[in-house]
């Protein structure tokens, strides 16, 4: 009886989903050809972006200066790298040991192992941005932007360490065994523990509001937009049917997040790592084919990093674009990944923080750099004939010069990456929404999320990117401010952890607690 009513409820949501989609589809079909649909939507988004731009993007040093928010992120990453005494280097080997399970203790509280938490967080960070974002960076900032992305990834490892350590330290274990963690918790609970409860509560609510909005952009519209670009690039059938693609994508994601059909999510969860491996192999293949040109390509990236000629804003412009795209891809300083990392089974907050620093490494320093090298090696970005190609289309065109059928792989990978990233971000956004409005209204948010996913496929990349960038980076304001204020707590935890780690007592403890389990 109970089961039945629950299932009926699911079905009613599916029906609601279709009801939303049908008029949207009809509207889109009727008006897409004349471009009327995209028009008003684009005007609305442009206005929202203009207001946000005014608040966050005021530039220091004139027209081509440094946007305030990018400076904030650079200062944050540098601060934590220095304050934690290069934890991004000295914690690296330990991070790999922990992920391999050497320090896992089944008796600790939490839901998943260190490896599982890292994988869950990566499903939100490794997305179409790793294929498309790099191309956008190179298009805007020249090959040198890829160098600054790497630098940003390297420094970002430290901000990621800081926020994920805090995520673990101030998480709560709910009565049903699930974990509540992430910036909302460490801002409110952490700051109140150092006597700044009022500020903490305010920052947590601001963070939740920014997160709920940013989810719609970077975690949703950008993914949908670039997945469409990748698919329509390989399958010309879709080239005038963005609305149809939007409906298919929203339907797949909607079935998982509204319909509760977890199988799709599980399938995407299996296929995404497979696609990542295929993608990596393809990158290596391109590098092998163009083996002799690799030193030249790296030379181009490094030399144009310090001497970018064709870019507005010169060196500073390349740095800004590099950092912006890197943060967009690896989310260091944004705080979102701390939500997933706080579920790890451990009683040592620092340990999960150290695991988390692998994330910018894998995402930015490894995968993004592979894409960058492929784009620079093949030279498509510099070819005047393909000057209009951007994002996923530029990456696909670059691979196509070596592997003719690879745009199809990019289309499949792009679709799957987008689906899995959208599902993960809908989780972050839903938690943020529930933090402000309570659990009862989360379905309203899910519907807004899906509608935005559809809008993201039909409007153009520039608008989507602008909205996504600015709303995502805005999350770093409350998040990094909280992390700065709590940096003393993090440093103390880190020192104590490192002392105990170096004395060798940690592994001994694990062996001790494990023994009864083996018996």
């Amino acid at each position: 009886m109970k089961q039945k009513s629950f299932r009926l409820q699911n079905k009613s949501w599916l029906a609601a989903l279709f009801l939303i989609l049908i008029p949207t589809a009809a509207l889109a079909q009727a008006e897409a050809d004349s471009g009327k649909l995209a028009g008003p939507l684009e005007t609305i988004f442009q206005q929202i972006i203009d207001i946000l731009n005014l608040l966050l993007y005021s530039k220091i040093g004139g027209e081509n200066g440094m946007p305030l928010i990018v400076l904030w992120l650079i200062v944050g990453a540098l601060f934590f790298t220095l304050r934690m005494k290069f934890i991004n280097i000295r914690g690296f080997k330990h991070a790999i040991d922990v992920v391999r399970g050497k320090y896992d203790d089944p008796e600790d509280e939490g839901d998943v192992s260190h490896f599982q938490a890292l994988a869950a967080a990566l499903s939100g960070t490794v997305g179409i941005g790793n294929i498309a974002g790099v191309a956008i960076a190179i298009r805007l900032g020249g090959p040198g932007a890829a160098f600054w992305m790497t630098v940003a990834g390297f420094l970002g490892m430290s901000s990621k360490f800081a926020e994920c350590t805090l995520g673990q330290k101030y998480r709560i274990i709910k009565p049903d065994g699930t974990v509540g963690g992430g910036p909302m918790y460490y801002l409110s609970r952490g700051l109140s523990s150092i006597g700044m409860g009022g500020l903490g509560k305010g920052l947590a609510i601001i963070y939740a509001a920014f997160c709920a909005i940013a989810t719609l952009g970077a975690g949703n519209m950008f993914q949908a937009n670039q997945a469409y670009a990748a698919v329509s690039n390989a399958l010309p059938f879709f080239s005038n049917l963005s609305w149809l693609f939007g409906i298919i994508l929203v339907l797949v994601v909607g079935l998982v997040i509204l319909g509760g059909i977890e199988r799709i999510g599980a399938v995407a969860g299996i296929l995404v790592p497979v696609m990542a491996v295929v993608y990596t192999i393809a990158c290596v293949w391109v590098m092998l084919v163009k083996f002799t040109s690799i030193p030249g390509a790296i030379g181009t990236i490094v030399s144009s990093a310090f001497n970018p000629q064709a870019i507005a804003g010169g060196l500073l412009g390349a740095i800004v674009i590099g950092f912006q795209r890197a943060v967009f891809s690896n989310e260091a300083g944004i705080g979102s990944a701390a939500i997933a990392h706080s579920a790890a089974r451990t009683d040592e907050p620092v340990r999960e923080g150290i695991v988390a620093l692998l994330e910018p490494f894998i995402d930015t320093m490894f995968i993004c750099n592979m894409t960058a090298i492929v784009i620079v090696l093949t030279g498509v970005y510099a070819d005047p004939a393909s000057a209009e190609l951007d994002g996923a289309k530029l990456s696909a065109a670059s691979f196509e010069t070596i592997i003719s059928w690879f745009p199809y792989v990019i289309a499949i990978a792009g679709f799957l990456f987008a689906v899995s990233t959208m599902i993960t971000w809908s989780y972050y956004g839903q938690l943020a929404w529930a933090y402000i409005f309570g659990d009862a209204t989360i379905n309203i948010y899910k519907v807004i999320f899906l509608v935005c996913g559809f809008i993201g496929t039909v409007i153009n990349l520039d608008l989507v990117l602008e909205f996504s960038d600015i709303s995502l980076l805005a999350m770093s304001l409350p998040n990094l401010l909280g992390c700065f204020l709590l940096s003393g707590v993090i440093a103390r935890e880190l020192n104590s952890y490192m002392t105990r780690l170096n004395s060798g007592e940690m592994l001994a403890n694990v062996a001790e607690t494990r023994e009864p389990v083996l018996k």
């Binding site: 998943v112 049903d176 977890e262 999510g265």
Partner: protein
């Protein structure tokens, strides 16, 4: 007097203080504590929750943990022996369904649960229960 006493009173619990306080009020309507029934409704796990993604925590585990938590909490509050039901779904719907199932005479719940953001409105769960319940509902201010 005893003929006026209720045989089965349902109290939805969301771990908030007001919901625990509702037990004391509900107790006045029954002869024996065994006539009190508690329900807690868990939200389904989001598919991207790491625990759901890796299937390390299933619904039975979650229900079991809440049972244990509430039993010890009720012992502490002095309500030993109250029956507890833990379900998964939408709070309003689950409460109404369970009230029918146990043929409740009365539902007692606070007007607002954990997220008391809007004091000028009736909480959405309370509102839904009042609207759809088959039996009287006592909404606490």
């Amino acid at each position: 007097m005893s003929c006026l006493k209720k045989k089965s009173v349902l109290i939805p619990i969301d771990f908030s203080e007001p919901s625990y306080e509702a037990i004391a009020i509900a107790k006045e309507y029954v002869e024996d504590i065994s006539s009190l029934k508690l329900i807690h409704v868990l939200a389904p796990l989001h598919p991207a929750d790491p625990a759901a993604m890796w299937d390390t925590l299933n619904n039975e585990d979650r229900q079991q943990k809440v049972q244990e938590f509430l039993h010890s909490k009720l012992d502490e509050l002095g309500y030993k022996g109250v029956e507890i039901k833990v379900t998964i779904g939408k709070p309003g719907t689950e409460i109404i369904d369970y009230a029918k199932e146990i043929d409740a005479d009365l539902i007692v719940l606070p007007s607002h649960g954990r997220k008391a953001m809007s004091h000028f409105l009736l909480g959405s769960v309370a509102e839904r229960v009042v609207r759809l319940s088959h039996c009287p509902v006592l909404v606490l201010k």
